[in-house]
Symmetry: C2
Subunit: 358 residues, 2 copies
């Protein structure tokens, strides 16, 4: 059977002051009425039934996850007591799902991405799931790049593999590349055989567990107890110990870049990881003068601004290309080109014991 594992442990500090430690990006409605995690689950309807959807998230977000996804069986939430990047949380989920369903195929999806063309997304998903049925195969979805983005990692496929016909299929992966500089990104774009790394994966649970055992033995060993039955009353302690003993490492770096049987399905749907406020601006429908406005806002000669106000009146006069996010206790005024640096404000708040604002 096909199982989804939605990774929802991020703290999303780039959406401060709207995102807070207690309410990170995946639980916010940033580009539509539903929240990003609600959209992520809704996108699977028709391919993976809700009983087979699982969410891995930090302990502190379990309650919010249940509130936002009432149809999700509570036992389908896997709580991480400590954040340890994606490899440990995928190992944990893989063991848990394999216990229920030894022949499971597992689809791993980030909870906080935006996808616009659901039909094309599901087509890519289905092709990837087929490819994942092969023993030891690790499959990812790549996104056909629309511009020389420097904020995404890239996946290079074997061009010979793709030349046969126009049918959507999983292509053999030659290499993974970290976020490039602009020059390299342009080269990637020109070459035609590089795709954006979307962080979406498909594999049999036995395939990924074998790969983790081989490439990340520390991670495998930390969760080894889940090879057998863990009594429910002991599970919390076992999980706690497992995460504590685990290194913090991503599945991309720890497994995907090192494995030899890796495929990529070239997705041609609109996709964004909504990495910062400027991405929200880009994804939003523009009003007059190219502004994106939510709340009680007066615009007097301002253009290409994103304004979100909780409840106060906000007046913009003679300004361009600003992000203005107004919440009860904190306000952000940021140039659109500097959105990536909002993270630094959150770092500053942490290091200066201003935790109330985080």
């Amino acid at each position: 059977m096909i199982h989804a594992v939605i990774m929802a442990g991020g703290i999303g500090s780039r959406f401060w002051p709207m995102s807070r430690r207690e309410r990170p990006k995946q639980f916010l409605s940033v580009v539509s009425k539903d929240t990003l995690i609600q959209n992520t689950v809704a996108r699977l309807i028709g391919v993976i039934p809700i009983e087979n959807c699982h969410v891995v998230t930090h302990t502190r977000y379990v309650e919010q996850t249940l509130e936002q996804l009432p149809a999700l069986p509570p036992e389908n939430i896997f709580a991480e007591p400590i954040s340890r990047n994606t490899a440990p949380c995928i190992a944990y989920a893989a063991f848990k799902i394999q216990q229920k369903d030894p022949d499971a195929i597992m689809v791993v999806l980030p909870a906080d991405h935006v996808i616009r063309n659901v039909k094309k997304f599901q087509e890519a998903l289905k092709v990837g799931i087929e490819a994942a049925k092969e023993e030891r195969a690790l499959v990812t979805i790549g996104i056909e790049p629309t511009h020389a983005a420097t904020g995404y990692g890239y996946v290079q496929f074997d061009p010979e593999d793709s030349e046969s016909d126009n049918e959507l299929k999983a292509l053999f992966v030659k290499t993974f590349a970290e976020k490039p500089n602009l020059e390299t990104a342009e080269r990637f774009l020109d070459s035609g055989d590089f795709l954006w790394n979307s962080g979406m994966f498909m594999w049999r649970t036995d395939s990924i567990l074998q790969s983790i055992e081989h490439h990340l033995p520390d991670v495998y060993d930390a969760f080894k107890e889940f090879e057998g039955e863990v009594p429910p009353e002991k599970e919390a302690d076992v999980v706690q110990a497992a995460f504590r003993n685990c290194p913090s490492i991503s599945i991309d770096y720890g497994v995907m870049e090192r494995a030899d049987k890796v495929y990529v399905v070239p997705g041609s749907f609109d996709w964004s990881d909504v990495g910062d406020w400027n991405a929200v601006f880009d994804l939003s429908e523009k009003g007059s003068a190219g502004n994106v406005v939510e709340g009680n806002v007066i615009i007097h000669d301002a253009s290409r601004c994103l304004v979100q106000s909780d409840d106060r009146l906000v007046a913009l006069v003679g300004v361009n290309d600003l992000i203005v996010v107004d919440t009860k206790d904190a306000l952000l005024v940021c140039h659109r080109d500097s959105s990536q640096r909002v993270k630094n404000v959150v770092d500053y708040l942490y290091t200066h014991q201003l935790d109330d604002y985080v």
Copy 2:
């Protein structure tokens, strides 16, 4: 005796959202710890005793005036029931002061200006007061222009009058000029015989009342009842009727530009009418990167910004030359070059029945 009349009836909409209808600019601390009206009274100490200081203001500001100026005798506040520009309020004050002191010299000062060199200001004041002793003389203080300002009116003195020596003296006025365009302002600056019109005046009460009777008979007639004794219990009604019957007109346009015996004392002190938020920025001491910051503010790569926050945390990221003013119920984000247009926001609020924010 010398009497001061401080004009404090303005509603100062250019300082929204800090200034409100209920708390206009003159009652705010915009560039120092004291408020502008407190500074205005303090600047007179040594020249005009507090018992001889009077404040003309709208009825709704009487209480605030008394709160901010506890040393001021309450009977020295002249309340305007309706705002009718400066000529009617000067007529009213002149009649009231003449009743107490028929030989009075009256010094008229706006409540909301900033003056930096008090010693030089008082020197100019004293020279102006001497000149005002002459029958029918109307004296104003001009400011030696430091740049080709287009936001101020100008006063042209007779250059022949000034050539005699370097002693500070009242010069004969040739003409008044409205706010010029940049080209004209540059010509004024080059000519050397134009000064900024500061809106500060000195005259004998009989001189100004004669001039008002001659040039603005409607205004004079409205207050005619004050030629004689008005019983205290009837005064409120008489004042109400007088202002209601008065045209709205400035003393500059109505009297100064038409009178023939007008003098100007060239003041060389630092002066500003603090016409908008950018003027506050210009007058304030700059911190690092040229920012002016008050309140709980995090600056992450921002320069030449003015930020005022009541109590919330404000973070600025990658922005320049902004005015950010944060109050309990409203927020302004404005380019420094657009400060003059803040007024338009207030107009918008009035016309859209958003009076709560005004």
